[in-house]
Symmetry: C2
Subunit: 662 residues, 2 copies
Amino acid sequence: MDLVLIAAPITGVIALIFAMYKAKYVEGANPGNDRMREIASYIEEGAMAFLKREYRAVAVFMAVFFVVLTFAIDWQTAVCFVIGGIFSLAAGFSGMKVATKANVRTANAAKEEGMTKALNIAFSGGSVMGMSVVGLGLLGIGALYIIFENASIVTGFSLGASSVALFARVGGGIYTKAADVGADLVGKVEAGIPEDDPRNPAVIADNVGDNVGDVAGMGADLFESYVGAIISAITLGLVAFGEAGVKYAFALSAVGIIASIIGVYFVRGDKDPQKALNNGTLVSSVITIIAAFVLSRVLLGSLRPFVSILSGLVVGLIIGRVTEYYTSADYKPVKKIAKESETGSSTNIIGGLSVGMMSTGIPIVIICIGIIVSFVALSGGLNGDIDITGGLYGIALAAVGMLSTTGMTIAVDAYGPISDNAGGIAEMCDLPEEVREVTDKLDAVGNTTAAVGKGFAIGSAALTALSLFSSYTQAVNLSGIELTKPTVIVGLFIGGVLPFIFSAMTMDAVGKAANDMIEEVRRQFREIPGIMEGKATPEYGTCVDISTKAALREMIVPGVMAVVVPLIVGLLLGAEALGGLLAGSLVTGVLMAIFMANSGGAWDNAKKYIEEGHHGGKGSEAHKAAVVGDTVGDPFKDTSGPSLNILIKLMTVVALTFAPLL
Amino acid sequence: MDLVLIAAPITGVIALIFAMYKAKYVEGANPGNDRMREIASYIEEGAMAFLKREYRAVAVFMAVFFVVLTFAIDWQTAVCFVIGGIFSLAAGFSGMKVATKANVRTANAAKEEGMTKALNIAFSGGSVMGMSVVGLGLLGIGALYIIFENASIVTGFSLGASSVALFARVGGGIYTKAADVGADLVGKVEAGIPEDDPRNPAVIADNVGDNVGDVAGMGADLFESYVGAIISAITLGLVAFGEAGVKYAFALSAVGIIASIIGVYFVRGDKDPQKALNNGTLVSSVITIIAAFVLSRVLLGSLRPFVSILSGLVVGLIIGRVTEYYTSADYKPVKKIAKESETGSSTNIIGGLSVGMMSTGIPIVIICIGIIVSFVALSGGLNGDIDITGGLYGIALAAVGMLSTTGMTIAVDAYGPISDNAGGIAEMCDLPEEVREVTDKLDAVGNTTAAVGKGFAIGSAALTALSLFSSYTQAVNLSGIELTKPTVIVGLFIGGVLPFIFSAMTMDAVGKAANDMIEEVRRQFREIPGIMEGKATPEYGTCVDISTKAALREMIVPGVMAVVVPLIVGLLLGAEALGGLLAGSLVTGVLMAIFMANSGGAWDNAKKYIEEGHHGGKGSEAHKAAVVGDTVGDPFKDTSGPSLNILIKLMTVVALTFAPLL
């Protein structure tokens, strides 16, 4: 047994131990007074209620798929599939469990000990999610690869991860926005009570949504990318470099975990939380880069693989910056939307749509450059007598490189919704103004990290799907995917249209679920006496229940579509047409995901910018127009956009797993 | 010299003679009283002013390109290019000239003679545009093919048509919406005067816009498709069937023209204009189908080519119906948006976006089925030992089939803006209520035909671009376009992102141009004394001038991008990557075009549906919300969406023309 291979699952275990240690730290903190603990317990219960029902749905889905896989492929792949699913669920469970404890403790720390401690708790909570994802991911793939010694069987693990991601990200995305929109429309607009007001029956569901969508959903999304990138790297590495190619991918992922753990210690709370978080990210990136350099020489005897890794890391960083540019109020695009809000909702909407569409340009060019560089680094060129498998391995390494510090990225990202929740609890418990100043500051930073995290999630989904696509072309043993053939063109068109249909469905789903919520909130306002005076407690549980049921109901059709359509096209029109489908959905999926995420982010921050007093400030006509954009942006950026990450990866993994049938 | 070949340009001449005859008929009608003639002359002058300035811009563009083509390719291609450009301009000129005469005469006929005569004049006006397009198109290609006996040289004609289409459709699209939005925002919203009020300085520009965008723009768009489809059919037909393949394409186009002329006589004005128009379309379709059947047997000795033709015709018809379903208030989608308007602008916007995205599904599936059927009809199968060139010829024939009755399609389509203008003139001249009832009825039918026409334009652009793409792959003599190569994937991504950038740019262009207009209208309201009391005439000319300048200025960057990016990618990354780019832009271009056109159409009709008294009717909260959606939809459906038709065709033609360099 090789030391490097064993090191991978062991590092996974180290990450999990670190996650437990951080979880203990969070739990050890003071959860505040009775009222705070009461509110927090509602949120925790709500989140767990969603998870429970999600588990039941996932269990049915996985049981069916387990049987199909056992008969259609083999039992080993089916077992890997189940383990992949369970590991993803476990990561989501622990991350969310701790997040729902960290929120109230962050609020209390803000009250009793100030910014430093509050940041510390919020970020520690986030790091549990981060470390659980990478720990379980690397442990799972590493151990299964050692056991089965077969990359194609381990692909089942990736399929399991993708299946859970579908439920967590799509279901979670519908949940969070149904609750958010429902709470806002009846609470803020109809009843005229502020956000996070405890009299609003949907307020708990709204806060649960932050955890369900932004913590667990994001975690499952990146778990899928992380796992998919490693698996395609070992699949292609084996062909290109033999066992050494596999080891390099594992070693690099292990190093990334250690680097992330070290990075966590550099997130030190001084006055500026953004700077603290940036420090941590910087440290883990630098360590990973140095290690990638050394490992490249030692394991593969060349610096070329390092170039591929580096290009992936750089692409990830640049996409993050570009996302910030298009969605932060510090730059021109958001300011332009804010200005356009002065002439009403329509110009605000057109402005936001146009910013989102425009924002696809640079990321795509950057991804293209990354593809070319990482490919050429190992192929030796673009045409003629080149090493194509080497080049494809290079692209997979770029994905691994981009995702190597995922532990840190998720920690930074999950910190956001925890702070957001902390602010909500502070509001609901009437904590003093200065407490909310601290949580607001944490939350504001969280908004930027969330936008950057979304960009990262899309970029990594693109690279992961692309390298899984390369693995697919290897797996079906095609002589090629010939774009001049009508079947491939048809595949390309059908693949291209799926993200549009999927987005339409998820947007409608939010609408329907929000409607259910609106009806229920209105009912409670009408039927519970004393609710508006704060004398009676609203029935938070029924609202939580409505979001949960609606989310899981509404995700069935798009979810089934994502699994079934590639199989139908593959069986009807052949493996080549399926290749076209995957390429088509990859391209439009990435474009639509960037478009929707950035339009949504830009609208959100344009509204906040106006609320800071620009263009007439709160209550002005410009503000009203900006609120419309913000509401349109909600399903864009938190439901439909992120769901596309799942769609493109899931379809590719399904194709890859079922490749032996084609 | 072959009789069938000569028949093509001769039929073109017949179409032109018929156009002249119809033009005379329109001119012979009574243009009404002094006031009507005055208003009409403003519109005519404004339209001609736009054309003049457009010609100057086109002249510069074509001079540069002529030199480039002469040196880079050969002088023959360059000459064909100039002729193609001039022919497209001539078609646009005559169509618009007559349209600006038909509008006032339609209004007067509605006043003096009623519906039958009014429909007759409006439709005759439209048929001049239709017959000019197909007449000049077939005359041009037919004559040039006879002269040069070389399909690849005649491609220059197509490039000329595409270049003019860029100016006419993109520039025209910006023009019409800048004027429309500008007129509405200051007139209706700020000053509170009704639509088409002569006190509004932008009102003439708005009416000019209907002609510039919806008559000339649409005409140039379909001229490009018509010409492109025939050229790729003769290119591929020559390879697949020799001279007989060329003849079949020409003969079919000639028959389509004759069928359209006959069809025109079946548009008889009884009480129901929609039915009259449908009759005409039906008659010309049936004649074409029968002729295609006979010609297929006679010229090619087989019914297989007929199947390809038929599939194209059917695809066109179904796309028209689907478009109607998603954009007409008679069906669920628009009713849903109207209902969602009750909860405000944001739900109206989300609803419209989601309907637009969803509406891409069926057309894409239909196009895919059409591709497969038309290919298999002539290839004999999808895999194995098949006749690939034959199959590609089949796809090109589908495009020719779909476009064979273009003369009729444009006539029906251009009838819409003429009726719209007639209504505007009736309003501005204070004609009696019953006159406006007639023009309103004509206009309402025009809205449906406009939506259907848009669907047809997109569908035909898709098939044309696809068959031009096939010609490209033949022309560069590639062994294939290998989707597993990173350069092709990069090409696919870059091609995919262009429609997003292009849409963002054209939307911004409308915004900027509308702003210029708003400033000017406000200035006139402020500075011209007595303007609001109707005592002073506004300076219509300056508004027309602003729209014109802005439109031509704002289209430069997107236009240059469309021409230059494919060349750069081709020269940098090779012919295969350029193939990827064309496929990528084809897929996302078609998707975005359908999405934007149908969202826009659905918002428009949702507003009208509410105005009819549903959900509170005019002035209700639902109506206000629906107005927002309608305004967002304006650049969607009339600028950005249709401009994408041009983008995908132009890039493919550029690639095809410059193929010898790659």
